[in-house]
C-alpha cells in the first residue's frame, strides 16, 4: 500500500520530475563514462598514454561526485517541497511519522533507482561513441575496449545509492519534525519582506566591491601568488551572493521608479523579478558559480589542448631521430609531407665511451635547435648550431643532438672531429636520420608508427626514451587531450545540473504564479503581452547568473594566463567555448519558457 502511494505520488507529478530526471540522468551517464574510462584496464594499461589519461579521469570523477552530492540534495529538496502538501494531508489523516519517513525514503530511492539505471544505460552509449573520440584526441588506438564494464557499473550504482540513501534519510528527518499544519499551509506562506534600504545599499556595495576584489586577485596572480586562489574563492562566492541579494534588487527598484514601469505589464514583470530574485538568491549564486566552473572547465580543457604542438616544438626542433633506418622506416618518413630531414654519420666507441660526428657534415648541413623566446606566448625560435657549440655538454645544440641519439649511447660523450679522425675510429658507421615534421598534428599517424617501431626495436619500457619532440608531443597530448575531453564533459554535466536546478526552481513557482496570470487574463491582458512578460522574467533569471559566470571565467583565465599554467593559450578558445556553451544554455531557457507558459498562461476558455 505504502509503495503504491509513493509511486502514484511520482506519477502524478511526472512532468515536474522529468526535469529533475534529465539533469540526474546526464550526471549519472557522465559519471559512468569517467568511471568506465578510468577503471577499465584495457584502456589504461595498454600504453603510457592511457596511464596519463587514467589519472585525469580519476580526478574528474571525484570532482563530479562532489558536485553531484550537492545537486542530489538540492534537487531532492525541491521534490520534497512539491510533496509537502500531500504529506501534510497524510499526517492530518493520521499517518504516523514512521509511515511518512518510509514513504519519503521509498520515493527518494525510487527516483534514484530510475535515474541511475537509465543514466548507466545512456552512459554505456556515451562511452561507446565518445571513447573513440577521446582516443583520437590523444592519438591512441582502441582495440579491446568495451563500453560495458562491470566494475564501473558497480561503482556508479554504489555512489548513487549512497547519495540517495543519505538524501532520503535527511528528507525524512526534516519532514517528520515539521507539523502537519505547517506542511499543509506551506504553499500559502510568503517569505517576502521589504528589505531595509540601508541594508540593501550596504550589501549592494559590499557585493560589487567583493566581486571586484576577487577579480582583481585573479588578475594580479603574479603578485599574490598562491594566495590569489583562496582570496578569489571567498570574495567571489560572497560577492555573488550579495550582488544577487541586493545589487540586482536595487537595480530593479530603480527601473520600477522610472517611467518604463508604467507601460503594459512592465510593473508586474519588474515586481515579479524583484520578489523572485531575493527568493532565488541562493540558487542564482550557485548557478552562477557552477556556470563559471563549467565554462571554465571547457575553456581550460580546450586551451591546454591547443598548446600541445607549441609546447612540443619549443622543446626540440626535430620530431624523431632514427638510427640506421631500414626500408620500412624510410617509407614511413616518406609519408610525412611537410618536413625537414638531415642525416649524419656516427661512430660509437664503447671503450672510450664516445660518440663521434663529422665536423664537415655539421658544417654543411648544420643542426638546428629550438628554444623558447617567450614563456608567456610560448613562442619559440629556431637556431642554427655551429660545430664549435658541441664542445660543451650544457650548450643547447649539444643537448639537442644528445637527445636524438638512441638510448644505449646516451651516457657517452659527443665528439665532433674532422673527417680523417672520424675514419680512424675503429667502429661501424651508423646513419642518424633526423626528421622534423612542420605540422605534427598532420603527421601524427606516421610519427606514431615510427616511435612504436623504435620502442619495439630497442625494447624500451617507456616511450619517452625515444628521442625527439614527438614523444613529448604524445605525452602532452595524452594529458591535455584527456583534460580537454574531461573539461567538455564535466562542463556539460555541470551545465545539466545547474540549468535543471534553475529550471526546477522556476517551475516550482509556476503553480502560485498561475493565479496571477489568471487574474491578468481576466482584467484583459493579451496573450502576447503575457508571453512577453514570461520571457522577460525567465530570461533575466537565466541571463544574470550567466553573465556573472562569464565574467568569473574571463577573469579566472588570467590565473592561467599569468600564472604560467596555460601560457599563451588561455583565451584562445574562450570565445568559441562560450558560444557553444550559451547555445546549450539557451536550449534550457527555451524549454523552461515553454513548460512554464504551458502551466501559467490561461487557455482562451477559462474553466473554473
Amino acid at each position: 500500500m505504502l509503495f503504491k502511494i509513493s509511486i502514484s505520488g511520482i506519477k502524478a507529478r511526472w512532468k515536474d520530475y522529468l526535469v529533475l530526471f534529465s539533469g540526474m540522468i546526464i550526471t549519472t551517464a557522465i559519471f559512468y563514462m569517467f568511471e568506465a574510462i578510468s577503471t577499465n584496464n584495457k584502456f589504461t594499461t595498454s600504453s603510457p598514454i592511457g596511464q596519463n589519461a587514467k589519472i585525469v579521469f580519476i580526478f574528474g570523477s571525484i570532482l563530479l561526485a562532489i558536485i553531484t552530492l550537492v545537486y542530489v540534495f538540492y534537487a531532492n529538496n525541491f521534490l520534497m517541497s512539491m510533496r509537502e502538501h500531500d504529506y501534510g494531508l497524510f499526517m492530518m489523516l493520521g499517518a504516523k511519522s514512521g509511515v511518512i519517513s518510509k514513504l519519503i525514503i521509498i520515493e527518494t530511492l525510487a527516483i534514484g533507482l530510475i535515474s541511475t539505471v537509465v543514466g548507466i544505460i545512456i552512459g554505456i552509449g556515451f562511452t561507446q561513441v565518445l571513447s573513440s573520440f577521446l582516443a583520437s584526441l590523444i592519438h591512441m588506438s582502441l582495440t579491446h575496449f568495451s563500453a560495458f564494464y562491470m566494475p564501473a557499473v558497480i561503482a556508479t550504482i554504489v555512489l548513487f545509492a549512497i547519495l540517495f540513501l543519505i538524501a532520503g534519510f535527511l528528507n525524512a528527518r526534516t519532514f517528520t519534525k515539521t507539523s502537519a499544519l505547517q506542511l499543509l499551509r506551506s504553499d500559502q506562506q510568503s517569505d517576502w519582506k521589504q528589505p531595509k534600504a540601508l541594508t540593501l545599499a550596504t550589501q549592494a556595495i559590499a557585493g560589487v566591491a567583493l566581486l571586484a576584489g576577487g577579480y582583481y586577485a585573479m588578475y594580479d596572480i603574479q603578485q599574490l601568488k598562491v594566495m590569489a586562489i583562496p582570496i578569489a574563492l571567498v570574495t567571489i562566492v560572497l560577492g555573488t551572493y550579495f550582488v544577487f541579494n541586493s545589487f540586482f534588487v536595487m537595480l530593479l527598484q530603480a527601473f520600477q521608479r522610472s517611467s518604463i514601469s508604467h507601460s503594459g505589464l512592465n510593473s508586474f514583470t519588474l515586481a515579479q523579478l524583484k520578489f523572485r530574485i531575493r527568493d532565488y538568491t541562493k540558487i542564482l549564486s550557485v548557478v552562477s558559480l557552477l556556470f563559471a566552473l563549467a565554462l571554465g572547465a571547457i575553456t581550460v580543457g580546450t586551451g591546454f589542448q591547443r598548446m600541445v604542438p607549441k609546447l612540443a616544438s619549443g622543446n626540440g626542433y626535430y620530431s624523431v631521430a632514427i638510427t640506421n633506418p631500414n626500408y620500412e622506416m624510410h617509407s614511413l618518413v616518406g609519408q610525412i609531407k611537410d618536413k625537414v630531414t638531415v642525416t649524419y654519420q656516427q661512430k660509437v666507441d664503447p671503450q672510450a665511451k664516445r660518440v663521434y660526428y663529422r665536423r664537415d657534415q655539421l658544417k654543411e648541413q648544420p643542426l638546428k635547435y629550438a628554444a623558447f623566446v617567450s614563456r608567456k606566448t610560448l613562442a619559440s625560435k629556431t637556431f642554427t648550431a655551429k660545430p664549435s657549440q658541441f664542445k660543451h655538454s650544457d650548450s643547447p645544440a649539444y643537448q639537442e643532438l644528445w637527445g636524438l641519439q638512441k638510448p644505449t649511447i646516451k651516457a657517452y660523450q659527443i665528439k665532433v672531429v674532422g673527417q680523417q679522425a672520424f675514419n680512424r675510429v675503429n667502429a661501424k658507421t651508423n646513419q642518424l636520420l633526423m626528421v622534423r615534421a612542420n605540422d605534427m598534428d598532420a603527421a601524427a599517424a606516421p610519427l606514431t608508427k615510427i616511435t612504436n617501431l623504435q620502442t619495439k626495436q630497442y625494447g624500451y619500457q617507456n616511450g619517452e626514451q625515444v628521442g625527439g619532440s614527438f614523444t613529448l608531443y604524445q605525452s602532452f597530448k595524452s594529458i591535455f587531450g584527456s583534460l580537454e575531453f574531461m573539461g567538455i564533459f564535466l562542463g556539460i554535466a555541470f551545465l545539466a545540473m545547474l540549468a535543471s536546478c534553475l529550471m526546477f526552481k522556476i517551475l516550482s513557482g509556476a503553480a502560485s504564479d498561475k493565479i496571477r496570470f489568471d487574474m491578468l487574463n481576466k482584467i484583459g491582458t493579451r496573450r502576447s503581452v503575457l508571453n512577453r512578460s514570461i520571457i522577460t522574467q525567465i530570461l533575466v533569471l537565466f541571463a544574470l547568473p550567466g553573465i556573472l559566470g562569464i565574467l568569473d571565467v574571463a577573469f579566472g583565465l588570467q590565473m592561467f594566463a599569468k600564472g604560467g599554467l596555460l601560457m599563451g593559450g588561455a583565451y584562445q578558445t574562450f570565445g568559441v567555448t562560450t558560444a557553444g556553451f550559451l547555445v546549450l544554455y539557451l536550449i534550457y531557457f527555451i524549454v523552461t519558457v515553454l513548460i512554464y507558459s504551458r502551466i501559467v498562461v490561461p487557455k482562451t476558455k477559462v474553466e473554473r
Partner: protein, 250 residues
C-alpha cells in the same frame, strides 16, 4: 428608453460536448441589464452562475446563443480582441480579491490602464480619482499583505473602476469578508451604482443580494424567477429574497 448594457439571447453552454456524458451547464438563458442597473444573479452551487458570469465576462464562449455587451457582439471575438475588450469595458471584483501581492495598491489599481498603454499622467489621475472614490488614498503605497481583507477588496474595487468600465462584474465579492467589511463594500458598490455605473453581482448570499435592484434566480442552467426591489426598503427586499429562496430551492 435606456440602453441595454448586457443582452443575452438563448445562451447554451455544454461541457465535454463530444464525450459520452456531455454536461449542459446553461440551457437557454436570455437576460438583459440596462445602463445604470444593479442586478444580482442568485443560485445554488452548480446552478450555472459562474459559467454564465464567465461567458458574460468574455472569459469563456457559449456553445450557442448570443451575448452583446455595450452593443457589441462578444461571442465572435478573437482572443486578443476579447482581452482588449475586457481591459476597456469590463471591471471585475472577485471573492479572493485577486490582487497581485508583488505590486503596491497603486500599481494594482493602475494595471488595467497600463495594459491599454495609457500615459503615465493619465494613469496617475485615474488612480487618484478611483482611490478617493473608495477612500483608500492613504493605502496606495502599501502592499496587499499589509492590508486587511476589507481594504484589499476596496483596492480591487478601485481597480475595477479605474478604466471607467461599462459594467462591473462581481463574483461573490463579499465571500471572504467579515460582516462589517462586507457591509462597507456593498455600500460602496451602491454608491458607485448611484453614480451611474452598471453592476452585475453573482452571489448566493441573500444579504449581499438585497443591495441589488433586481435579482435573477438561476437553477439547473435556466432562469427560474425574477424579483424587483422597486421602492421597497432594503429590509423588506431582504425578506422577500429569503422567502423566494425558500420556495425556489425546493
Amino acid at each position: 428608453m435606456t440602453t441595454k448594457i448586457v443582452q443575452t439571447e438563448d445562451l447554451h453552454k455544454t461541457y465535454d460536448k463530444d464525450s459520452a456524458k456531455p454536461y449542459e451547464a446553461l440551457k437557454g438563458i436570455s437576460l438583459s441589464v440596462k445602463e445604470g442597473e444593479f442586478v444580482g444573479i442568485m443560485g445554488a452551487s452548480g446552478s450555472g452562475k459562474t459559467t454564465l458570469l464567465n461567458i458574460l465576462a468574455t472569459l469563456d464562449q457559449p456553445t450557442s446563443g448570443s451575448v452583446e455587451i455595450d452593443g457589441q457582439d462578444v461571442t465572435h471575438l478573437t482572443s486578443n480582441q476579447m482581452a482588449d475588450f475586457r481591459s476597456k469595458k469590463l471591471g471585475f471584483i472577485f471573492q479572493d480579491f485577486n490582487l497581485l501581492e508583488t505590486l503596491t495598491a497603486q500599481e494594482n489599481i493602475a494595471l488595467p490602464l497600463s495594459l491599454q498603454n495609457a500615459k503615465a499622467a493619465t494613469i496617475q489621475t485615474a488612480v487618484k480619482t478611483a482611490a478617493s472614490k473608495l477612500g483608500i488614498d492613504d493605502l496606495l503605497s502599501k502592499y496587499p499583505t499589509q492590508l486587511s481583507g476589507g481594504q484589499k477588496q476596496r483596492v480591487a474595487a478601485a481597480r475595477a473602476l479605474v478604466s471607467n468600465p461599462s459594467i462591473i462584474f462581481g463574483d461573490e465579492p463579499t465571500g471572504a469578508l467579515d460582516s462589517t467589511n462586507a457591509r462597507e463594500l456593498l455600500d460602496t458598490l451602491t454608491n458607485i451604482n448611484q453614480q451611474g455605473v452598471s453592476i452585475l453581482l453573482v452571489t448566493h448570499d441573500p444579504f449581499s443580494a438585497s443591495f441589488c435592484k433586481r435579482i435573477l434566480f438561476i437553477k439547473d442552467g435556466k432562469i427560474g424567477d425574477e424579483i424587483n426591489a422597486g421602492d421597497k426598503p432594503r429590509n423588506e427586499f431582504y425578506q422577500e429574497i429569503l422567502e423566494k429562496l425558500g420556495t425556489f430551492e425546493q
